[in-house]
Structures are given as C-alpha cells and as structure tokens.
Assembly symmetry: C2
Homo-oligomer: 353 residues x 2
C-alpha cells in the first residue's frame, strides 16, 4: 500500500502534533451534493449504490474532489449487517429503512448468525478495497458499523422508531432475549470491522445513533458493554500502523467517562457537549471528534466561521481534536457552505498548533 | 380555598421533611386509561376536550381516582398559547399538531401578540378553576406551559419536526427574528402562567421538550434565557403559600447547573441522568423531579419495583425529590403497571425519610 500523503487525521487521533486541525464531515458523501444524486440515480436504489464497488467508491471520493477533507469514509449503511443476517432490508419510497422479518421471539433470535464478511458482505469489502486503491494514499479511509444497540432497535422494531417501544419492552420484560440479539450482533460487527481493516480501512468508527435513548444504567448494560466487546475484539494494527477506533453515541454527553474507559482512541461528540469541558474530562485518555451543529451550515458564511472559531478556542491548543459536525450533514445544505466550514477549520486552527 | 390535605409534593419541592416521597406521572391523564378514551370520545376532538372545563376537569381527576398520586396536573396542551396568537392550531388525523399559519417572515412575526389569558385563553383558566374546586384540597394542582423555544419550533415549522431545520436555519441565519418570536412568546407564557396561578394553580411547570436539540451555547441563548425571563416574571405566592416553578428540558442533563441558577424551585430530569449525580451537582439549590424511563412500565411488576428502588437509593435520604417518569407515560402501558409504580414509590421510600 502507498504511503499516506496526509496523515493529520491519524496523528490527531493519536494525540501527536499536527500542523492544522484535521476535518471531515459525517455523511460527507451524500444528498447535499448534486454529483451524489447523479451517481445515485445511475445506480438505482440506495442499496444498489452500496452494492456497486465502483459507484460506492465514486461517491466516497466526490466530496474529496470538492473540499480539502482530511479523511474519506466508506460509503455504506449501518444496516448491511442485519441485512446479511437474513432480515430482508428494504427502503420503501419516502420512508426510512424496513426489515421484512423483524426479530421479536426466541425463535427469531435463534435464526440469527454471524455473517461471513467475505460472503454475504463481500460487496462492502470490495468497496473498501476499491476506495483504498483509488485514494492512492491521499488521506486515510474510515470504515464503520452501527453499534449493537442501534442495530438491535432496527432489527426488533423492523424500522425507524421514535421511542423504541418494542425494543424497550423487550429490554425491561425479557432482557435475556435482547442480550442474545446484542451478543450475536456484537460478534458480527467485530468480524465485519476486522474484515474492513483487513481490506484497507485505516480507522473504524462505531455509530451508536440511538444509545442516547437509554437510561444511564441501561446504556452501560445494553449499549456500551457491547461496544466494549467490539473494541476488545478488533485488530488494532495494519500496515505497521495503529488502527484507531472512534465511538460515537449521539446524546451520550453524560457518559463520556465510561466511554473513554473502553480503550477506544477517540470519542465523537454531538453539539450538546461543550468540547472544552469534554477535553477537561476525558482528554487525557482519548481524542475528541466534533462537534458543530450541522444546522450551522444553514447560517451565513460569517456565522459558520464564527462557530468554527468558538469550537477551536474551546478545545484550545494542541492535538487530539478531529473537527467534524455533531451529526451527519443535512441534505438541504449548500455545498458552498460545507466548503466554508472545511476551509475555516484549516485556516483558523493554525494558531492552535 | 380549602386547606391542602396532602402537601407532600409542595413540601418536597421546598426541601421540607416528608413522610414518603411524593409521586405523579407526566401525562397521567391520558390515553393509557380507558376512562380517558371514553371522555375524549364524548368531547369530540382533543382541543374540544381542552376547551370544555367540566370534561378537562374530569380527565384531570381520573388518574387520581385510580392511584394515590400526590399531585394533579391541569389537562391541556402546550400549544394553546400559539393557537391563541392566531396561528390556527389543528390536529390532522393520525398526525401531530399543525398550525395553519406558521411564523416564518418579519411580517408574520409582527402579527404575534400576547394573548389575554382571560380572553382567548379563558377556557384554560376555567378548567383550572373547575379542577381546583373539584380537587377540594386533596392534592395540589400543577399548571403548565411550553417553553418559548419549544413553542417556537412548532410556530416556525408549523408542525412537529425531527431536526427543526427551518427553526434552526432562522436561528443561525436571522437570530434577531427568532429572538423576537421568543420574546413575545416568553411574555405570553408569563402572563398565561400568572393567570393559571391566579385561577388556582399551586405549582407551575415549564416543558422545554425540544431544548435538548440545541447546542450548549444556543440552549442558553435561545431557550434558557427565555425560561429565566418567565421565572423572573412569575407571581411566586398564592393563598399565603409559595408557588414553586419546575423547569424541565428533555435532553438537558448537561445543563443542570445553568438551569438551577435561574431561581426555579425544581428541575425535571429525564432518564439519561443519574439522579444521584444530579443531586450532588445541584441538590443544594433545587429539588429534583424524575426520572424513571417510562418504558419501564412495559416491564414486569418486579422489574418496575426494582427500578423504583434503585432510583430512590441513588437519590438517598431526605426530602427534595418528587418521583416521576422521565417523560410522559406511553399510551400502550397498562394502568395496572402504572399503579405498581405509584405504590412502589410510596412503599419503598419510607426508609429514606
């Protein structure tokens, strides 16, 4: 594999000196870009796009052609794993994701299995290999997966949910059954992420999008415990370089201490957290990634630059910060404002290094 | 007005000794009760029920006939205030609330006004007077309103929203316009709550349901500042007794210090917060209300009792705790499990007083 030309992102995650603060955007390959929409239309459905390694590579690289981003992230979906478990993922028009066969009973749970990453999920590994080759060492490639809890909410509900009523009813009335789902899912995610690393992912991120819906005790038992299991089972080195792991629980700002104890390298922060407080709390253990409200990109260029400056100043001097949004970029944002954001991070962060 | 027979709730909010921990449930008058559904069917629409003082009183009292609750809460809706501002509230079948005339432009904002609580909103005051009379001093009556930020999200979006894109776009591109909306709304809520107090409300609670969607800085500027304005403008005494104010920002667990500084008497906590930590942090300034995950009521009676015991033990000895759910009770919960919850609080809390 070729040498990395820009390793700012990996250096920041390792708390090593950097020249400027690295930046990328969650969902940077997405619907706010007209070229993404064109490729998506060419591919067919969203999952057709995920399954086509050449086109998945194309959309992964599109934002990097526009903006001087410091990392690329695999274009895929967190639901590839439960789909590969045979649950029948489909996207109904105008709705979110759905599963044909939700997991509700002991019999449903018994049918779950750890999918072969180079079998049912080989299309993802092909995408990783293709992207890594095409990146040609420009910036590191981030692989990712959903957290077991987050995946379980979709598997049990069969779709997106507001209050996760069926999953939480299981959590409080039959916790053993939910633990079984979470365990097989954690083993699947571990194998899936290790395969991504073997295929070329240089960092992996675990998205716990719905961990913030849990109580403080339930979070530890039903979400964090399984992310810990994954962190413990990951291959942490590749090409002679450490492969960092980033955990991101949206709404998890109260639990940063516990998250930092898992041995992960970085924590994703949403915008409810003051990054200065977070650094004081856990900055000696982990790097921090975040955390501008994606809605700022609806603001004026001046307002965006002002917010970037505030976050940089709250974090303060030194490495250990990967700038990002606090959640995925919204589809109605203008690409120009995304560019203002990326440039502002690079330009305004010089003085902190 | 008659003497209060059970003032445990008011004593806990004042941090005065109590025999057992008082308990009530957010949305305790609601769809999980068959008798509520019957009265609602009799009334017609949801707003017809709110506008009928006798029937609003009836549903307010229904949960008190079933369970030994320590407080009653006015049956109404947070959107009565923007509706009275002329925005045209309606509920489409199977959807949440909608406004016919959302507030988007300077011209829209100029039309907003502080509604007369004994004019457009008199039906609410009539309900307060009727309920207070019918309660006959059994337990205190809680009045309530939505926070300006939470109301503004509905006023600007025109309906419920997932990411408040239009409101946040206004916040970041034209903050002055949003501040105008928030200011007139804060003045309206102050006048509305003072009228509820004059009509007989013995406590008032401000529901900031969507404050948790804001960044830590934006929360202070666009939500907390206006709740502070309301707290400062409230009549804090009635019938020779203090009228406590409770602030509840769902998802606001990171901001308890700032909330406690407003001079409110109690803070509502959602279930992401460890109530023991919250007490250590702000328990010398405010009482705490909460904070069991409402989904626990899908669990077994044993599991419900176990969770109540855990929360009581985390809070520890002494007054200053009003037990509640961390959000409204879900409609599909069995009334029997709600009863288990209420009884468990009373029975298991004796040892802490």
């Amino acid at each position: 594999m070729s040498e990395l030309k820009n390793d700012r992102f990996l250096r920041a995650l390792a708390n090593e000196p950097v020249d400027i603060t690295p930046v990328w955007m969650m969902r940077q390959a997405g619907r706010y870009l007209p070229e993404y929409k064109a490729t998506r239309a060419e591919a067919g459905s969203f999952m057709d796009l995920c399954r086509n390694a050449e086109l998945a590579c194309e959309v992964t690289l599109q934002p990097l052609r526009r903006f001087p981003l410091d990392a690329a992230i695999l274009f895929s979906d967190i639901l590839t794993v439960p789909d590969a478990m045979g649950l029948g993922l489909y996207f109904a028009e105008g709705e979110g994701p759905n599963f044909e066969r939700p997991v509700r009973t002991a019999a449903d749970v018994d049918k779950l299995f750890v999918p072969d990453p180079e079998g049912e999920l080989q299309y993802v590994m092909n995408a990783v290999r293709t992207i890594r080759r095409e990146l040609n060492g420009d910036v590191p490639l981030i692989g990712f997966a959903g957290s077991p809890w987050t995946l379980a909410t979709y598997m049990v509900e069969g779709k997106s949910s507001k209050d996760y009523a069926i999953t939480k009813a299981m959590l409080y009335s039959d916790p053993k059954l939910l633990h079984k789902i979470l365990d097989v899912t954690a083993r699947s995610v571990t194998s899936y992420l290790n395969a991504q690393i073997a295929a070329g992912a240089q960092t992996v991120m675990i998205f716990d999008s719905w961990g913030g819906a849990l109580s403080h005790d339930a979070y530890k038992e039903f979400s964090l415990q399984y992310m810990q299991q994954i962190v413990d089972g990951l291959t942490r080195e590749n090409d002679g370089r450490k492969v960092p792991v980033i955990l991101f629980t949206k709404g998890g700002g109260l639990w940063l201490d516990a998250m930092a104890e898992t041995g992960c390298d970085g924590l994703g922060l949403d915008w409810t957290v003051d990054i200065g407080n977070a650094r004081a709390q856990v900055g000696d253990k982990v790097a921090l990634q975040g955390n501008m409200d994606p809605s700022l990109l609806y603001g004026t260029p001046e307002r965006i630059r002002e917010e970037v400056a505030t976050i940089l100043s709250r974090y303060g001097k030194g490495s250990g910060h990967v700038f990002n949004l606090g959640h995925g970029i919204h589809q109605h944002v203008s690409p120009e404002n995304a560019g203002v954001f990326v440039d502002a991070v690079h330009e305004l962060s010089k003085q902190y290094h």
